[in-house]
Subunit: 186 residues, 2 copies
């Protein structure tokens, strides 16, 4: 079996979440490095692979999927259904967190970090950090009464949310004062 | 059977997508109006229902789910599986578009419209409209070769993306020049 190809950039938390999940479920990946900071997602060739010109992208034979939440969904359903749940309530709960990862976690912790990695990025840092603080507070509240984000067990919801939370110090969002986030990250 | 309760606000495109999907699949809903502009999502009572203090929220018996993408997922799986797909490739493709609805469509067309509905909102209109233009261009390209966003048939991916695209004139994003978006909206 030819392993899937992950179009990858090491510094990206969205790529990291795919790599870490693949490692946890023993899924071999061929990593194809894309030098984002050198403009390699902005080429016509890359646009043919992914019109949104974003990483990560996963290619498995003829099937191509982009967006880190979707990329987690695909191998989870294919190889490790214990990491996902296709019941109406189970998938509803997981998609709730996948949307949260795509929107709030991206607009808050991810953009805050990106502004410090690349100060030329057109990012409203005050706004991103305000969203980041709200994400941390609500996440800490959620984890006060449970070990995992949903369904009482680890799922792709946890994998989707945690990288930019774990990296949020790089966006000058300290994790002190959020006692329930630490054991979950660990 | 007691119908699910939708915590709803008429002007919200995210609530609209849930109402329209429920109507398409003949799912009765009890609409509970939440006066967002009067601060009714910012009360402690509402925070107990949804800590993120956003609408829409769906309550079906003891099950509570927030986020419009997750709310579409739940009744689709429960009542109308033809609107969703739980195969690895099918769900991967759908989640790709759900994330797109949660992030790009929200950051672009949705925020542009909101700024014109409520000029006091702290929104960078130039940035939101730039994202909006990119969303429209890429969506038009995607729809040039197909009738539906994925899987060759209507799914919750279409329902998740279309309201803020259909409403984007209200964010001063004209739909002229996107010939493939019109038949899809219709």
């Amino acid at each position: 079996m030819t392993p899937p190809i992950l179009y990858d950039f090491e510094l990206s938390g969205n790529c990291y979440k795919v790599r870490v999940f693949a490692s946890m479920i023993n899924l071999g990946l061929v990593l194809q490095n894309v030098e984002v900071l050198k403009g390699e997602t902005r080429t016509e060739e890359f646009a043919r692979l992914n019109p949104w010109q974003q990483i990560p992208v996963l290619r498995d034979g003829d099937f191509v999927v982009q967006d880190s939440q979707a990329i987690l969904t695909y191998p989870a359903l294919k190889y490790t259904p214990q990491w996902i749940d296709t019941t109406p309530m189970g998938m509803g709960a997981i998609v709730e967190w996948l949307s949260y990862a795509a929107k709030e976690v991206s607009n808050g912790p991810q953009l805050s970090r990106l502004k410090f990695l690349d100060p030329h990025e057109d990012i409203d840092l005050v706004r991103a950090q305000a969203i980041g603080l709200k994400v941390l507070r609500l996440l800490d509240n959620s984890l006060a009464s449970r070990d995992w984000l949903c369904l009482g067990r680890p799922t792709i919801a946890d994998i989707a949310v945690y990288p930019y939370v774990g990296l949020c110090r790089q966006g000058k969002l300290p994790l002190d004062g959020y006692p329930h986030i630490h054991p979950w990250l660990a």
